[in-house]
């Protein structure tokens, strides 16, 4: 199995969720995070004091998927999350050794 993680713009969460739903992804975990990358270092002025806003709000989503689906999931997230502007985010894929559904004890592909 693969564990696909993506850091996306908060406003795109609903679109990504729907797109994944359409390719049959049934579960997902989302976390509010802050990030920076290319999109960084803009200077704001607050009451006359300049400061650099380094971190911007993002949403991290995590989806465990069977190996076979991984490619499509990455593609789907990419399409649904892309606005074309800087700060659209990143997708990271790792190997997932094991998955367990707590309620039933089902394992691996059955669990996700």
């Amino acid at each position: 199995m693969k564990y696909v993680t993506a850091v996306i713009k908060p406003a795109r969460l609903d679109q990504v969720r729907e797109a994944l739903g359409q390719i049959g992804i049934q579960g997902m975990t989302a976390t509010e995070v802050k990030g920076y990358g290319r999109q960084k270092g803009h200077t704001e002025i607050y009451r006359g004091a300049e400061y650099v806003v380094s971190f911007l709000p993002k949403i991290k989503i995590e989806v465990a998927v069977p190996d076979a689906l991984a490619g499509r999931v990455v593609e789907t997230i990419q399409n649904a999350a892309r606005s074309g502007n800087i700060g659209d985010g990143k997708i990271f894929v790792y190997d997932l050794e094991k998955a367990v559904r707590i309620r039933t004890g089902e394992q691996d592909d059955d669990a996700i």
Partner: protein, 433 residues
């Protein structure tokens, strides 16, 4: 009605005791009781929330604790000796100890400045001013002052700065005698607090991260609630200073509201123009600037003047809290000087310009209670400036001395580690979850 009763009293040859009793007006007393509640509400929760909303999340409870503890501490000091020092005859420099521990403040006592209300009510009303003035200063010390040092500072400042200055201007002291006009506290409250704040900011030094990290307000909703309650409470502050429920109170409330509204719009417009967006922080700061600025003039002027004063307040305080502060490089964290110091100065001078006998009426001796340039009395502006200069110098020096002394004795500023961790957990062992 008061007049009616007095006329009647005369006609019926009432006994002196009768006449004395009849002076207490239940309507005036009701209004001053309410005004006292309103001005207390300005500090708790008004100012506490305004300040708490503008600091970072890790310092929010500590900021509340400062307003709370200041209220409690100053109240006790006021009852013990502060009221006596400020509002008894004494001499030109200070009152005396005749109201020490409120002795003599019996059920039938009345103060000369408030003949139609029981003295207990007047004492309480003035207490709320003595509370909010030092509490205002704390905006300059946000995020970095020790709680213990803060307590020492508040106690010393209210006795050594607030009480004398209140006596000079209001309590029968030399500035009042010189004719300085300060209806509800431009000099006594706002300039006093603003100057002390500037000195505090300079002596404490900048917050860690000032100019590099994001120090923007973490929860402006609290700021909005705080300023809203300040605004509402200010009706008690200014209209209550008429010490009667009459047309003067009505006009004071009117000009207060007009100045607040105008200054809020002015600051909003200026920021929209300069920065491209009107911020909520700007709108509420403008409202506070208007309220503080109108204060010294509020019982003396007509509505049109309130619009001009509001405009000046919004624009000048915006500039003072942004461009000017940045150029000077001090970290007056919540802009107490930029708003209250600058606003108080403008308003005190404006009282010299716009005060008119049409609103101020006649005093006991049948002379105009106040008149400014618009009444042909340009000299009043000079008198106002004299009052400002005296208080700025006195306040700056004594504040600096107090702070330096406390720094030597207990230390003013928390450790860097505590400042980074946040005062809530470091000083009070609590956090906002």
């Amino acid at each position: 009605m008061k007049i009616g009763l007095i006329v009647l009293g005369g006609m019926l040859a009432a006994t002196p005791a009768w006449a004395a009793e009849s002076k207490i007006s239940s309507g005036d007393t009701a209004w001053l009781l309410v005004s006292t509640a309103l001005v207390l509400m300005m500090t708790l929760p008004g100012l506490a929330l305004f300040y708490a909303g503008m600091v970072r999340k890790k310092n929010i409870l500590a900021t509340c604790a400062q307003s709370l503890a200041t209220t409690a501490l100053v109240s006790i000091l006021w009852v013990v000796v502060g009221y006596s020092l400020a509002f008894t005859a004494g001499g030109p420099w200070l009152g005396d100890f005749s109201r020490f521990m409120l002795k003599g403040l019996t059920m039938d006592a009345a103060h000369d400045l408030a003949k139609t209300v029981p003295e207990s009510v007047y004492m309480m009303f003035q207490m709320t001013f003595a509370i909010i003035t030092p509490a205002l200063i704390l905006g300059a010390a946000a995020d970095r002052i020790k709680f213990s040092a803060m307590l020492w500072f508040m106690g010393a400042w209210v006795l050594l700065v607030y009480c004398p200055v209140a006596h000079w201007v209001w309590g029968g002291g030399f500035l009042g005698d010189a004719g300085v006009l300060d209806f509800a506290g431009g000099i006594v409250v706002h300039i006093n607090a603003g100057v002390a704040a500037l000195v505090t900011a300079l002596i404490l030094g900048k917050r860690i991260g000032y100019g590099t990290e994001n120090l923007a307000p973490h929860n402006l909703t609290l700021g909005v609630v705080g300023v809203s309650l300040l605004w509402v409470g200010w009706f008690g502050f200014n209209a209550g200073s008429a010490v009667a429920a009459d047309a003067r109170a009505g006009m004071a409330m009117t000009v207060t509201h007009i100045a607040a509204a105008t200054a809020a719009l002015a600051w909003m417009a200026a920021e929209w123009f300069v920065n491209g967006k009107p911020s909520v922080l700007g709108i509420v700061s403008g409202a506070v600037a208007g309220l503080g600025t109108i204060t010294p003039a509020s019982g003396y002027i007509e509505p049109y003047a309130a619009i001009l004063i509001g405009l000046a307040a919004g624009l000048a305080c915006f500039w003072a809290s942004t461009a000017f502060k940045r150029r000077m490089g001090y970290d007056d964290s919540l802009d107490v000087f930029g708003v209250h110091g600058v606003g108080g100065t403008i308003g005190t001078l404006a009282a010299g310009v716009f005060a008119t006998v049409a609103v101020a009426g006649l005093n006991d001796k049948g002379q105009p209670a106040a008149s400014g340039w618009v009444d042909g009395n340009a000299a009043q502006i000079g008198i106002q400036a004299y009052g400002i200069v005296v208080v700025v110098i006195y306040c700056a020096i004594v504040t600096a001395v107090i702070l330096k002394a406390i720094d030597m004795l207990v230390g003013l500023r928390v450790s860097d580690e505590d400042e980074r961790q946040g005062l809530d957990i470091a000083l009070h062992g609590e956090t906002l979850q």
